[in-house]
Amino acid sequence: MGWFTKATSSDTEKGKLNIVEGMWRKCPHCRAIIYRKEIERNEQVCPKCEYHFPLSVPERLAKLVDEGSFEEWDAEVSPMDPLGFVDSQPYRHRLQSAQEATGQKDALVIGKGRIQDIPLTLGIFDFRFMGGSMGSVVGEKICRAIDRALEGHLPFLLVTTSGGARMQEGTLSLMQMAKTAASLAQLDRARLPFLSLLADPTFGGVTASVAMLGDVILAEPRALIGFAGPRVIEQTIKQRLPDGFQRAEFLLERGMIDAIVHRRHLRATVGTILRHLTVGR
């Protein structure tokens, strides 16, 4: 759990430098060097291999929900430090720098919005906040979004990008897996749709709880999705991993997800699925 966090967050930091300072950007999937503006014009998608670059929460919302329809909930819910956790630096310091860098209290934004005029509740992970790791706040906010979906009889859509459970909150983070799964079971009993969209990367305790429990599970092209991080697996089996291992395409081939959807078609696809599952019941 959280095994993947480190590798990806350092990659993202390197990537961030390129974004801020350079006119060029390297695709982490096909390694092509691409003109930054060209990626932006292409909805943050690599024109060579269709790798979907990470989106910030506002960027994600702009592409996904009907304009002006999003209303955030519980933005003020903040993390604590229940274990008094200190590694090379105190957890409180890590939280503070992540909060300053992102302007958010923790790694998940929830709220309500509309997609093609269909009202729904949403949760969107932010990988920039401690690798999108799930601690108490993320778990709590997922449950609150589900509570409101139940109250308002609305579908729930969750966009994941996460290294897994947050180590700094220890076993309490592990419990967020049980807690969110229990809330999703309530949604299931109320026959309200839960759509899960897996963005790059989705790993560990997030995959092994909410992410894989979607009634319909979608993924972005080339997204890395798994339980154990690739480095941990390589160290365990002492072999090179097969080509394309843990990519969205690999999961689709093995029957683990329903569809891979290009960003360009995401809003329409989600709209169609929601209509199929809700209209005229």
Binding site: P79, M167, T171, M212
Partner: protein, 328 residues
């Protein structure tokens, strides 16, 4: 013969000395007196050592190769155990054992991780690290228990779910997630007992329960101390520090409300006396099971949901204290 751990070396030296004296001239009164003195000293040393164990030392006890696990407990606690195999889809995972058995006159469904006894058995059981088919077998048995109104008792002892290519290909994450989801609403009482190593998601996949009991020296964590040290300290040898930071001992988890009761172990750990451990476990299990069985299932499910829903340490602007956590 008893296996001594690194931190038990001083005990071993003293025990060896007593052993040697006993074998050499046991009839001499002076030797007898010395043996008595040394035995008293040994008892005091043991008491001191085991009442001030560090989290890392307790991790060693939790992973002790002679620590009893499900196969042993099944023999000591239950009658008429019948093991049921396979997930009906892919295979039978020997890292998880399950079946039905009698406990104090009622039939129960018993499921747990098994690390194995001896080298060959350990390899066959993949050291207690399940693949997806193990979790799917467990869920199949839980659904059977639900169908026939039998309570579920799980025994948790795993380093974690196996990180391998096949496990990922066959949906390790989905298998774990599905268990969490299904256990949340399973319409029979569930008691989970963390007997040894509660290794992250691979442990939790058998751990959503009305009552979570934990053996005194067991551990339960979001990540292994070694894994945590490698990531956060950049140095796997910092595992003892990580073990302390992760607050993974039974007392800490009781305080956090994650565990409902801690079951005391024989002095020095469960491996020192399997029978005494099993007797203590049976007593606690029996009390919880009877209490759960006395409740209407809908109340039980509501309580189970509420219990997990409350697990959080979050602050809102006007409260600086946790909303739902018991005071520390």
């Amino acid at each position: 013969m008893r296996d001594f751990l690194e931190f038990e070396k001083p005990l071993k030296e003293l025990a060896d000395r007593i052993d040697k004296l006993t074998k050499s001239e046991p009839d001499k009164p002076a030797v007898q007196r010395l043996i008595r003195i040394l035995k008293t000293r040994l008892a005091r040393m043991e008491h001191d050592l085991y009442s001030s164990l560090t989290p890392w030392q307790r991790t060693q006890l939790a992973r002790h190769p002679q620590r009893p696990s499900i196969v042993r407990y099944v023999n000591l606690l239950f009658r008429d155990f019948i093991e049921l195999h396979g997930d009906r889809t892919f295979g039978d995972d020997h890292a998880i054992v399950g079946g039905f058995a009698s406990f104090e006159g009622r039939t129960v469904c018993v499921i747990g991780h098994e690390k194995g006894q001896g080298v060959k058995d350990r390899i066959r059981r993949n050291f207690g690290m399940p693949h997806p088919e193990g979790y799917r077998k467990a869920l199949r048995l839980m659904k059977l228990a639900e169908k026939f109104h039998r309570p579920v008792i799980t025994f948790i002892d795993t380093p974690g779910a196996y990180p391998g290519v096949g496990a990922e290909e066959r949906g390790q994450a989905e298998a774990i997630a599905k268990n969490l989801f299904s256990m949340a609403t399973l319409r029979v009482p569930i008691v989970a007992i963390i007997t040894g190593e509660g290794g992250s998601g691979g442990a939790l996949a058998l751990g959503v329960a009305d009552r979570v009991l934990m053996l005194e020296h067991a551990i339960y964590s979001v990540i292994s101390p070694e894994g945590c040290a490698a990531i956060l300290w950049n140095d796997a040898s910092k595992a003892p520090e990580a073990a302390a930071a992760l607050k993974m001992t039974s007392e800490e988890l009781l305080r956090l409300g994650i565990v409902d009761e801690v079951i005391p172990e024989p002095l020095g750990g469960a491996h020192r006396n399997h029978e005494a451990m099993a007797a203590q476990l049976a007593k606690t299990l029996s009390a919880h099971l009877s209490a759960l069985e006395a409740q209407p299932i809908d109340n039980l499910l509501a309580d189970r949901y509420e219990k997990y829903r409350r697990m959080a340490a979050v602050a809102t602007p006007h409260t600086s204290s946790p909303e739902c956590l018991p005071p520390s």
